[in-house]
Amino acid sequence: MTTFLQFLIDVLSLGGAYALMALGLVIVYGILRLVNFAYGELIMVAGYTMYLVSGSGLPWLVMAAIAVLMAILAGIATDYVAFRPVRAKSVTAVLITSFAFATLLQNAALLFISPRPRNVPLPEVFSQTVEIAGVITPARNLITIAAAVILLALFSWLMRRSVLGIAMRAAATNFTMARMLGIPANLIISSAFAISGLLAGVVSLLWIGRIGAVVPGIGLEPLLIAFIATVIGGMRSLQGAVLGGFLLAFIDTTLNFTLPQDLLKFRDAFTFSLVILILLWRPEGLIKGPASGQRT
């Protein structure tokens, strides 16, 4: 029973973080059909903001809010620098510019801050442990679950009820038609990037909460996780991204519990081979998105 509860908490907390990561990637992909390689660097931006404001003596929540805000701004900057100038041209061009922008941000961190890890302030509660029904678990796991639940609820309300959300879903289904009906394309795309930045910012706080430090390459792992989760769940579907995140967490945790130590280090190779297989079997992922229209 305790093992099961332990397993459940692990899956839910890891899955919550993974789902948020995947959602941030898929919201941009859904509308633009373009993979944002700079997504991981948004997480890095939030992390370094935490490091830079750590000496200011502000309360932690204010610092966290500043960090999330910076991630949102970086997300919008991605749109302006990497996507807007080449959006109407080839798919390959945009993939390359977003890859270039990711390298740019990462090396800017190397150049202006440091290649070495930098400590990030964390509130007390992140390092405490809680006991639930005989299972001792770090409190940050429960915080992650709570944050994921709140954000996912907020996000689904936004997408279902608000004008912005409806416009975004319309743009994702048929971009040209949505534009003809008077939805401002640039505004919708920038908002998608802003939401992507918001999710990246929150993920960053949760992710760095596990490690306690930030390095220039920190964005790679979340980016890979978001890739796998969206590919499993369905590149075009928001529910699919969430499902994919939890499924991936389930697979990872199961492998962690069952694989022998000397195979465990190949875990990434296993999961990525799984991605390739799933893409071959169902190129659309587990949940199909809306019928695809023409990209701008």
């Binding site: 061009a93 270039a100 800017a108 290649p115 590149m235 990434d268 190779a269 991605v275 390739i276 071959l280």
Partner: protein, 342 residues
């Protein structure tokens, strides 16, 4: 046909001129840069063979470079060195000690073989799905290289490769790569593949077997990458899996994108331009570090400038410097125009 020969002659002439100038100057540093440039040419032309003709972005290329480098290392490191650098190696491989030249060839073939085995099903995918799977393939190859300690010495540096790559060998390989890339582009396979790049549906409807053509290009591309990787291994003589990951991918990709992915000329010029920019920026970085103005080492400046250049090129000239026409075609056309005009 004459135009293609002119293209080959001009591009090879450029490489030969570069070699001659380097040899005349006789500076050790330039020698090193020239060898690196030739190896980069092999890699970029390999990527061009696949990406330029099929129009699909591939991230896996540098992974195959790693396969070539490690295969050649495995076959050529002297047996007594293997005892130190790879203590857990299978005794069969530990006894093998081939000539580095043979090792380079086998390294290329091994990369092509791995590519042939894993990539066929991936070739059915286009656009974003193809890019993500190629990225996944790069991560898989990197993970295997980092953790297969018995063969690759894990994440640590593998040392002891005999030094075999000199400027002549590297330049020869680059020239062969130019000829092969042009020949492939103008071959039946290359022509059909380019038709699928320009209109996938139309060429499919006319009976072009797109996955098989892409597969052939991908194998050829991996062969180039494997040979390039092995050449690099025998030049640098010690390396770790880190050398075959995103940083190197970014440099090779920037060469191709800035030059123009669709033409062999673009790949060659891109390699020259980016190498020149890269080395001068490196020198600036080193100079700044020597001056000691900043409290920390200056790193990453090179990549920042390259990234900005890439974004600028793609925004202003999405096809790169040589977007559609090879240099031979451009020159003959200009001459014809001049003859027509008076």
């Amino acid at each position: 046909m004459g135009k293609n020969l002119l293209t080959i002659a001009l591009l090879c002439g450029l490489i030969v001129a570069m070699v001659v100038v380097t040899k005349l100057l006789g500076v050790r540093l330039f020698d090193r840069i020239a060898i690196n440039l030739c190896i980069a040419l092999v890699l970029v032309l390999g990527l061009q063979v696949f990406m330029g003709n099929s129009g699909i972005l591939s991230f896996a290329h540098i992974g195959f470079m790693g396969v070539g480098a490690y295969t050649s290392a495995l076959l050529t490191i002297p047996s007594r060195m293997k005892g130190m650098s790879l203590p857990d190696l299978d005794p069969f491989f530990a006894a093998i000690e081939l000539s580095p030249y043979l090792g380079i060839l086998i390294g290329g073939l091994a990369a092509a073989l791995v590519a042939a085995a894993v990539s066929y099903p991936l070739m059915r995918l286009s656009d974003a799905a193809a890019v993500i799977t190629s990225f996944a393939l790069l991560v898989v190859l990197h993970t295997v290289m980092t953790h297969w300690s018995a063969v690759t010495n894990g994440p640590r540096t593998l040392f002891g490769l005999p030094r075999a790559t000199d400027l002549w060998l590297a330049a020869g390989a680059a020239i062969v790569a130019v000829v092969a890339a042009v020949a492939f582009k103008e071959s039946r396979t290359g022509l059909l593949l380019r038709s699928s790049r320009d209109d996938e549906v139309a060429s499919g409807a006319m009976g072009v077997h797109i996955p098989r053509l892409r597969w052939q290009a991908f194998i050829l591309s991996a062969l180039f990458a494997g040979i390039g990787g092995a050449l690099w291994g025998h030049f640098i003589t010690s390396f770790s899996p880190k050398a075959f990951f995103l940083k190197e991918t970014f440099v090779i990709l920037s060469m191709l994108v800035i030059g123009g992915a669709n033409t062999v000329t673009g790949a060659v010029f891109g390699a020259f331009i980016v190498t020149a920019a890269f080395e001068s920026l490196r020198a600036t970085e080193a100079g700044l570090n020597k001056l000691d103005i900043f409290s920390e080492q200056v790193v990453g400046l090179t990549e920042i400038v390259l990234a900005l250049a890439m974004i600028a090129v793609l925004a202003l000239r999405p096809g790169g410097l040589f977007a559609t026409q090879e240099i031979g075609v451009l020159l003959t056309r200009r001459r014809n125009k001049r003859e027509d005009s008076p």
